[in-house]
Amino acid sequence: MSENIFPLLPDDLAAATGRCQFKGDRATANIARARFGAGTPAPLINNEGGRISLGEIFIAAGVRLWAHKGGVLAIGINTVLDAGVEIIAWSSVTIGTNCYLGWDALVMDTDLHSVGGRPLVNKPVVIGDNVRIGARAMILKGVTIGEGAVIQPGSIVTRDVPAGAEVRPPAAAVKGRLTPA
């Protein structure tokens, strides 16, 4: 397993002078150890009656963390949430240590609303240690990602990923050709 290529650089930590925008219940949110990147929009942490627990992690601008009523959101130490990451916890989202989540990655353990009168089912998401998730990847409800797995940019993950596995999206293919002007 290769090492994390996006470790926190000293520059990053020095630049992590931003502040987060917090909404909701502060009593059940432990965010004191997280570092926030500067920039707009400021990272938004929204705790609507859930529980949030963040270790010593780096959170870039534009990140949105949302724990709904009864939802648990826990992130281990040394994890990096890069710009635009969204994590939506209505039941439980657990992210391990030393993980990297790239630009605009989306992690959600719910479908946010039911379809056709069926009840809404939320299933917990567990992401192990040393997992690297590329830009625009989506991790959907009920997924467990094993330790050291690699989710390449653009993947949509709906099933469990074993430890050390690699997931990649279908690549673009040439569909036609323009006649040269």
Partner: protein
């Protein structure tokens, strides 16, 4: 004064799309190390483009930056964008090595262009070269080690990595019916 007034009228008549002298003035204030031929223009709106060269370098020609554009270098990353290219809303370019975008390219909303080659690649960063007049669709992802020839078209949502000759039309895989 009259010239200035005429310029303002022109900007108004084009719905704010034409680069205004005011935007040029703001362009001069872009932070980080920056060189290049032309003035950078950004179009009014929030959030303003976020240009961070850090220890690297960003060379912008006469480029139009829409609101929300992010240009970031990591380490000694280097980014060159040619004249007449515009980056639409929320487009992001990341350079850990080299990213070169040619002239008169059109980069659509929420596109990610990065020279990051993939998590287990031997080289973390591989150069990205987009030649002139490349058109990139909405939410496409261009990864490291990509070379798009002149006039390539990338469809919305495609994930592109590799070497493609001039005039190629690239598209991703549409969703399938699961049940």
């Amino acid at each position: 004064m009259i010239t200035r007034f005429a310029q303002m009228l022109r900007v108004l008549a084009s719905g704010g799309r034409q680069y205004s002298p005011v935007a040029y003035a703001f362009g001069a204030l872009l932070p980080g190390r920056r060189g290049g031929a032309g003035p950078v223009a950004w179009l009014r709106g929030w959030p303003m483009p976020d240009v961070r060269a850090g220890a690297g370098a960003i060379e912008l020609g006469h480029v139009g930056l829409y609101p929300g554009v992010k240009l970031h270098c990591r380490g000694a990353g280097r980014m060159v964008i040619g004249d007449g290219t515009f980056l639409n809303r929320d487009a992001r370019i990341f350079a850990g090595g080299t990213v070169t975008v040619g002239r008169h390219c059109m980069v659509s909303w929420q596109t990610v262009i990065t020279d990051f080659a993939g998590f287990d690649a031997t080289a973390q960063f591989a150069p990205v070269v987009l030649e002139d007049e490349v058109w990139i669709g909405n939410r496409a992802i261009i990864l490291g080690g990509t070379r798009l020839g002149r006039g390539c078209v990338v469809a919305a949502g495609a994930v592109v990595q590799g070497d493609f000759p001039a005039g190629s039309i690239l598209a991703g895989k549409p969703a399938e019916i699961v049940s």
